[in-house]
């Protein structure tokens, strides 16, 4: 009985949780509610993944209105994979959140913080699960508005500025998205993505449809921080509260990538994207620019949170590179990196959040010698960093392996060389921080540091362990990504 309604529960639960949190006064009670909700969500998502893995696509008519007239929630292996990613990250960071939020958010705002966080989670899950173009817009705005508020709660006053800038950029992106949807709606008369795909057959090359594609691509690319539309990201991640940074870096951009892939492959179809239009080349150029440009900028950052944010822009480049490579292996590489980057970056930002919790700074000069006092946290940073570089034995290696194989399948040897060269830049920015953390005399603040409380340390270690684990066992990651890529390339929906 319940298993039939899992798609609705996936979204409704965090929404209800948010409402409850908003009515609570005490931060710790709100935390309990958020924790309970966050722990149930991965179970639902895994249930959905299992159902789609065994039985194929699930179609859920919300409110009983038959698609394509009502809103349809449609889950296949690809978005089940994304749902698992988002909800698992959401669950892992909740135990971590308590102490971090107590430290960074004033007591009277904590309940609000959790309410907003659950709204954001609800929006992201909604984007991933819905099969309706306009519904996706609404969820996108739910998550975005929540994100602006989360960022603005950072302690630094520049957080306000970052939130404002993101609001402007994000709203432009969302509006572009609605324009694209509007054009598609006027051409097809439907908002259901699957229905839309059918009705687009035959009119793919009309000017309105192509304009719609352009608006959608730019709009979503703003959300996923595709180079050079990434300028909102570094400040937003750098000044947001630690817990918000962890959550956003691991999920928000990933869900936007999901949406882009959904439009490209399930709505427009492979032939429009690759055969008729130079999408592959555009993404190739932008991804490579991200991989090199953002990595190089990362090398020179003194604020390590900002450095990791630039690294995120670079890593998103690897994900979109999968779109550019345009064969099954490459696309699977992009999708698996979606997952792998999420866990690695979450672990890294968690480690950094723990350091901020103890010493109140994430500037490189304050991190000097911190490994003497916080060896475990500094060790997490090493493992996560190795993942970013793509050292074998970490999840990052698996992504690069698939991307590299995909590049060669196309005969693009030069791309393989570019992939590995950009990884070498990651050696620079990771190595720089690791050296300072481990092999310098402790800075005055680092001398007084100690390991964070267990509630923060254990979730961090869990993700660190996952970074290594998914470097060896790739059933849940690469195998699923492979299936998803297969589905997308054969136009499945």
């Amino acid at each position: 009985m319940i298993s039939a309604h899992l798609p609705a529960l996936q979204v409704v639960l965090p929404l209800l949780g948010a409402v409850v949190c908003a009515f609570l006064k005490r931060g710790s009670w709100a935390w309990l509610v958020a924790l309970a909700v966050s722990l149930v969500l991965p179970a639902i998502a895994l249930g959905l993944l299992y159902q789609t893995y065994e039985g194929g696509t699930i179609s859920y008519a919300l409110g009983g209105w038959r698609p394509p007239f009502g809103i349809e929630y449609r889950v296949d292996i690809f978005n089940a994979f994304v749902l698992v990613l988002v909800s698992v990250i959401g669950a892992v960071i909740m135990p971590y959140a308590k102490r971090s939020v107590e430290h960074e958010i004033p007591e009277d705002k904590q309940a609000w913080f959790y309410a907003i966080y659950l709204l954001c989670l609800c929006g992201l899950l909604g984007i991933a699960i819905t099969g309706d173009a306009f519904n996706a817009f609404v969820f996108m705005e739910i998550s975005s508005l929540a994100t602006y508020a989360l960022i603005a709660m950072g302690r630094d006053r520049r957080a306000l500025l970052a939130a404002y800038q993101y609001l402007i950029m994000g709203t432009i992106g969302a509006t572009f998205y609605v324009i694209g949807v509007g054009l598609l709606y006027s051409m097809t008369g439907t908002l259901n993505l699957a229905d839309m795909a059918n009705r687009l057959a035959g009119i793919e090359d009309s000017r309105a449809v192509l304009a719609a594609l352009a608006f959608l691509t730019v709009g979503i690319s703003l959300k996923l921080a595709l180079f050079p539309l990434h300028v909102w990201l570094p400040n937003a991640y750098a000044y947001a509260p630690s817990m918000a940074t962890v959550f956003l870096s691991a999920t928000a951009t990933k869900v936007a990538v999901y949406l882009l892939l959904r439009y490209f492959f399930s709505v427009f179809g492979v032939s429009v994207i690759y055969a008729d239009l130079p999408v592959s080349w555009i993404f190739l150029v932008l991804s490579i620019a991200a991989m090199f440009g953002a990595s190089l900028v990362a090398v020179f950052q003194a604020n390590i949170k900002r450095m990791l944010a630039y690294s995120s822009v670079a890593q998103i480049g690897y994900i979109t590179l999968g779109i550019a490579i345009a064969n099954k292996t490459g696309l699977a590489g992009g999708i698996v990196h979606l997952f792998n980057h999420a866990i690695m970056k979450a672990a890294l930002f968690m480690a950094l959040g723990s350091i901020f919790f103890r010493i109140g700074s994430v500037r490189i000069e304050d991190l000097a010698g911190i490994a003497k006092r916080m060896p475990v946290t500094a060790g997490v940073f090493v493992v996560g960093g190795l993942g970013l570089i793509g050292v074998p034995g970490t999840a990052g290696f698996i992504s690069k392996w698939y991307l590299g194989l995909g590049a060669i399948e196309n005969g693009w040897w030069w791309l393989l060389m570019l992939i590995v060269l950009s990884s070498a830049i990651a050696v620079l920015y990771v190595g720089r921080v690791v050296e300072v953390m481990w092999f310098r005399e402790p800075s005055p603040v680092a001398k007084k540091a100690e390991e964070p409380p267990l509630s923060m340390l254990l979730p961090t270690l869990l993700l660190t362990f996952a970074t290594i684990y998914f470097g060896f066992d790739t059933f849940l990651t690469a195998h699923m990504a492979d299936l998803a890529a297969q589905l997308l390339l054969t136009g499945g929906r």
Partner: protein, 488 residues
Amino acid sequence: MTGETLIILALLVPTVGAALIWATAWNPNFRETTTLVTAGILFIIVLTILGRFLSGEPLATGTVPIAPGLELGFSIEPLGMLFACIASGLWIVNSIYSIGYMRGNNEPRQTPFYMCFAIALASTMGIAFAANLFTLFLFYEILTLSTYPLVTHKGDDSAREGGRTYLLVLLGTSTVLLLPAIIATAVIAGTLNFEPGGILAGKVSPTVLSILLAMFMFGIGKAALMPFHKWLPAAMVAPTPVSALLHAVAVVKAGVFSVVKVIVYVFGVETLAGAATAGWLLYIAGATILIASVVALKADNLKRRLAYSTVSQLSYVILAAAILAPISIVGASMHIAAHAISKITLFFAAGSIYTAAHLTEVSQLNGIGRKMPWTMGAFAIGALSMIGVPPTAGFVSKWYILLGAMDAQQWIAVGVIIVSTLLNAAYFLPIVYAAFFRAPDKKSPDHGEAPLPIVVALTVTAAGTVILFLFPGVPLALSKMLGLVGGG
């Protein structure tokens, strides 16, 4: 015990050892005992594997599939067997030496030091027993990472500088050249497993073959082929036991071991011999030998001189492999063993001088042989082996390399070996001469021999250098097996 269990134990024992070292950190005596016991058990395991292997038992583990084309698996073949024996055997001696050195110099942070050492050894075992390129690559990278803290051990500016070069060159070459080469091999050959005759045989055009060969040879930065050799002198900022075991044996030998392994099992000796475009490797190796020898000649810092000597000696192995004759492959394999035991002796001696007299420069060593007869005696034996004078191990390997070169009528290789022998003599013999026959400087400090563990260790390895000449039995047998594999 099955072969599979033994192989896994060989990997597990040093790893668990590292954990136990951390657990016993509160008492230095316990901690050092743990290191010694771990090293001892590992050597016994490796010897057991050797016994099984020589009796003809096929030894391999099952494979763990990771992703399509990626598998984790181990198997034993002659070269890996030899490498594992050398590394694990010398670890025992080196541990004894480390105790003397680290305590004699009051080095800080000894627990992480011994832990990293044990992890480095575990990854060395992984490299030696790797059944495919991915497994090799995995442990190759772990070895780089676990030795990086050892290089930066001192924690001052020069140590950090050295560590930076070390990490950048080694991780850089392996990421930028080796990884794409492996990916390309996976695509072209359809497998990454090491197979006699080579998995690329008959599958690539000469041009692609040559490019891939270059990517492998330079990508394996640990082999220190010029121009990617800078990390080795940079790594000399590390404490001497690290330079001795890791940067004369484990790390650099992992490099040349990988080179030989790639030539024999990935490309196949016959494939390379048949390709006109693969000849350049010989010249690069020859050039590295000569240039590094000249740099060594000019270096006044003793460890720096030894490091450049290592660079040149490593290229002997590559040169021997690049001659592509079965008998030169035997030489390459033997030289891995011979150079290991002789160079570790030389480093032990250098560390011994530093511990007892705090001298680091060659020009300060006048007359030191009278105060430190054991140390300098061992040094002399090591130096003779480097030059290739009987009765030392270096003679045996050089003999096979020369035979191979003549056999294949590679006269350039013959010339390089002769000239470099002269250069070797030119940069080692003056040290020995000055140590024994020059009058000591007046203001040289008063000191005697180094602490006992150090003297014991270097005597053992010096003796080993001679023994390996007199009884080359097992290493030679293994090398000949490899030569047969390589020769098809």
